[in-house]
């Protein structure tokens, strides 16, 4: 992971520049980088989209997006004016070769006018079906290689959004097709969870301290819980969800990334491949859940019904627009997982992710083993398993350590307390948005926080057999009320081992 923030001159080309992600995250992210003086002086932005727009219209639209969504308001006019000079727009369809010629010409102009010296970052903020045509056309237009005028070692980078396939076979095919036009080091598969400050801090917490790592194993940890809960429902994405489901939307990527970060071995260095090698090793150590019985014993899938979330009555999944009345698509998944390796042998890892739960929270809980001898068994407030380390990814990013203390007084009573560290209050400044960090890393050609081809394939290798069992109806699709913490079957999943879900 790079610590040097210097970025070589470059142009960021955003495909799908009129889209929601560009408007809400990418363009404000670039502005914030500029405001924090993290962009190189020689920098350019090219918006590429189907809609017809002039450069000035694109600038006006981008300004509006930044004004609305930047975390720094009001916008700094000096920063904006500087950035606006470097912005151009290319109208074109993603499969239209002539558009890529226009793009190539604009890039050359920017190299000349802004001194960007052939540095290119292509951000593909587009539907999955458009990825191949764009890469094919970039290749055909010679844009997958650095121009001859570029300094040695410069290479264009292509940032690809998930989904990276819909199963192992399609992921392999996508990797094969991309690698036919690009080298692996040019492909930056983005998982925005990895850009979150707390996720990165997981590595610092584990490998930048001495007190935690000795405890971070089967000898001290009883079980791990990973929760990725959202309170929102489909928000107009019913059609997408019907084709995807929660396993592909959250677990195959975000949740497995979290699992890797919390359970991987220490890499030999912070070089991108050293970190990613360890993640791949972790994914390969996951005990496969293959067959109907294994799926029935180790997985829960469910769909939300109507209920109350954050004070509002909400529809059930099947009442959402574009969702089939008899839909079997999961909006909740829970897995009881095991890592078959020396560090984590025998430690269950429970993972749950869902839509329409009680609140939006992503949290990892490392629950420590029970007391070897319950000295305070009969003391009020005493717990058999009092210790946990809670890693809050969002919101209120931070870390809390839970332990038991004596309540002051003449009698012996115990109360659990938490030593709480919060980013927001400890540093007095907002953490950067995940996309800002990842954009900057791509510009610096640092791929540590991006997903490698073999990592994606290892994720699908684990997930595919579960999805196969689910397609066969094992386990049965359950339901849960919107605004709850999920179906009762998920409780039973932990109860088998005498555990229960923490209240996040």
């Amino acid at each position: 992971m790079a610590t040097d923030l210097a970025v070589d001159p470059c142009v960021a080309v955003i495909f799908g520049a009129s889209g929601d992600l560009a408007r809400r995250k990418l363009l404000p992210g670039i502005y914030n980088l500029g405001r924090n003086r993290l962009l190189p002086p020689a920098f350019g932005i090219v918006g590429f989209a189907r809609r017809d727009k002039s450069d000035d219209e694109f600038r006006a639209w981008m300004k509006e997006s930044v004004e609305q969504h930047s975390r720094h308001k009001p916008i700094d006019s000096a920063v904006w004016d500087d950035l606006a000079q470097s912005m151009v727009y290319v109208q074109g369809n993603f499969d239209e070769p002539a558009a890529y010629q226009r793009l190539s010409e604009k890039l050359e102009q920017l190299d000349e006018q802004r001194g960007t010296r052939g540095g290119r970052v292509f951000y593909l903020s587009v539907p999955a079906a458009s990825v191949r045509p764009i890469v094919d056309n970039l290749h055909a237009a010679g844009l997958c290689r650095a121009p001859k005028s570029a300094p040695e070692g410069t290479y264009p980078r292509v940032i690809v959004e998930k989904p990276f396939g819909v199963d192992l076979e399609s992921a392999r095919a996508l990797n094969r097709d991309l690698l036919a036009k690009l080298e692996e080091k040019q492909i930056f598969r983005i998982d925005h969870y990895l850009g979150k400050e707390t996720v990165q801090n997981l590595l610092v917490l584990r490998f930048g301290n001495t007190i935690f790592e000795p405890l971070w194993n089967r000898d001290h940890i009883s079980h791990i819980e990973i929760t990725a809960a959202e309170h929102i429902g489909m928000e107009g994405r019913g059609k997408f969800y019907e084709a995807t489901g929660l396993m592909r939307d959250i677990i195959q990527n975000h949740a497995l990334q979290l699992l890797c970060m919390v359970t991987m071995e220490a890499p030999i260095s912070w070089a991108a491949d050293a970190v990613r090698d360890e993640k791949v090793k972790t994914l390969r150590a996951l005990r496969p859940i293959v067959g109907h019985e294994a799926a029935r014993l180790s997985t829960v899938r469910a769909q939300y019904t109507r209920g109350v979330v954050r004070g509002d009555e909400v529809h059930g999944y099947r009442d959402e627009p574009d969702v089939a009345a008899e839909s079997q698509v999961e909006t909740y998944a829970a897995l009881a997982m095991h890592l078959d390796n020396w560090r984590w042998g025998g430690v269950p890892i429970y993972l749950r992710a869902a839509k329409r739960l009680k609140k939006k929270v992503t949290e990892i809980a490392l629950n420590f083993r029970a007391l070897p001898h319950p000295l305070f068994r009969d003391v009020p407030g005493a717990a058999e398993q009092p210790n946990a380390l809670l890693l809050r990814i969002q919101p209120d990013e931070g870390i809390a350590m839970r332990f038991a203390t004596k309540v002051p007084g003449q009698t012996t009573a115990i109360r659990e307390v938490a030593m709480d560290f919060r980013y927001g209050t400890a540093f007095g400044e907002e953490s950067p948005e995940a996309y800002e960090r990842l954009l900057l890393d791509a510009m610096r050609a640092d791929a540590t926080l991006f997903t490698r081809d073999d990592e994606v394939e290892a994720q699908w290798t684990y997930v595919d057999p579960i999805l196969a069992a689910w397609r066969d109806g094992e386990p049965r699709l359950s339901t849960y009320e919107s605004g709850s913490w999920g179906p009762s079957e998920a409780k039973a999943l932990l109860a088998v081992e005498g555990h229960r879900w923490s209240k996040p």
Partner: protein
């Protein structure tokens, strides 16, 4: 469903406002701390006296406070809200200013039943949640919140013991009845009648209790008398049958409750207790009578009609905020109030 979005939008607005308070670095440096969520429900008219009490509790315990009232004049699906930080300033300036969030919510009547979902969004699940049922709290809101909190605080003098017992039965969490805490000294003094090992059998043979409480128009003016009898009943294995109170041997225990008109203590407060017991041919009578000085009590014990001991005891003067703080965090004796209220409930069932 047609109103969907309104309340959650308001919650999002409150969350933004809360973040805004803490990300504002223009003011004096402040530390954000909360060791518990204090969810308080109150009637609007009681707010002028209730809010200062809550602020004191919140400042002492570093609690994130969510104060809920109901406004029947609001559109039924509407929720109004406001966020502030309550800070404790160190006059010497040597310690950092410690602040905790305070969220005030005003609910329309339809939203009251969704209070659980609203509060869940605005509290921190990493610390315990305490529900403080204040004066004239709206029943729907309390019913929606009681099942999910870790601890309940209420005052059965304000609520009446039947309602207090109902709320108590909704929650598996700890119960702290302020009326019960306030009469802790009375329980202690009653227990002293039977401290001597020779008189302990008499505790199992109480035949009559006469109690006096100050009058008032609160629903639970007689709550402390009920609680004291129920506390004894739950400890001594008494039962209710056919509107009678029977001891462990099946013999009747006669209970008489009277009211006192004295004005120098709060309404619904115990003023005197007399206990008559008979065991092994010996009659024991214990009397506790609040004196002219309302903070003192005369304690007398008679055996077989003759004075046996006389003492004077002081009632500790504990401000309401201290009592509420204790109720919010105390770890001892919590089951006593629950047992007493369950005993009250058993009376209703028997009737």
């Amino acid at each position: 469903m047609s109103e969907s979005g309104r309340v959650s939008d308001k919650i999002a607005e409150l969350e933004r406002a809360m973040r805004g308070i803490w990300s504002d670095t223009s003011e004096q440096a402040k530390v954000r701390a909360h060791t518990l969520n204090l969810v308080a429900v109150s009637g609007k008219r009681a707010l002028p006296s209730f809010i200062p009490l809550l602020d004191e509790v919140s400042a002492n315990l570093s609690a994130r406070t969510v104060l809920i009232t109901v406004d029947p004049t609001l559109p039924p699906w509407q929720m109004n809200g406001n966020v502030e930080a309550v800070c404790r300033l160190d006059p010497s300036g040597s310690r950092p200013t410690v602040c905790a969030d305070r969220v005030e919510l005003e609910l329309g009547v339809v939203v009251t039943k969704r209070a659980g979902s609203i509060v869940e969004a605005l509290t921190d699940a990493r610390v315990p949640s305490v529900l403080y049922v204040g004066p004239n709290a709206h029943d729907h809101v309390v019913d929606a919140l009681a099942p999910s909190v870790d601890r309940l605080i209420f005052d059965s003098v304000e609520l009446g013991v039947d309602r207090a017992a109902d709320i108590c039965s909704m929650s598996a969490g700890r119960i702290e009845d302020l009326a019960f805490l306030r009469m802790h000294r009375w329980c202690d003094l009653v227990a002293r009648f039977f401290d001597d090992p020779d008189r302990r059998p008499a505790a199992q043979a109480i035949r009559a209790i006469e109690l006096t409480h100050t009058s008032g128009d609160l629903p639970g003016s007689s709550a402390q008398t009920d609680l004291l009898v129920s506390w004894l009943g739950s400890k001594l294995g008494w039962t209710h049958r056919d509107e009678k109170l029977l001891d462990g041997s099946g013999l009747a225990v006669e209970v008489t409750v009277r009211t006192s008109e004295r004005q120098d203590v709060r309404p619904g407060t115990l003023d005197s207790v007399r206990v008559d017991a008979e065991a092994a041919g010996s009659r024991v009578r214990g009397v506790i009578q609040r004196e002219a000085n309302p903070l003192r009590a005369a304690w007398t014990l008679e055996v077989d009609g003759a004075p046996h001991a006389t003492r004077q005891f002081a009632f500790p003067k504990r401000p309401d905020a201290d009592m509420a703080c204790r109720a919010a965090v105390a770890q001892d004796a919590s089951s006593l109030a629950r047992e007493a209220l369950e005993f009250v409930k058993s009376k209703t069932r028997a009737a």
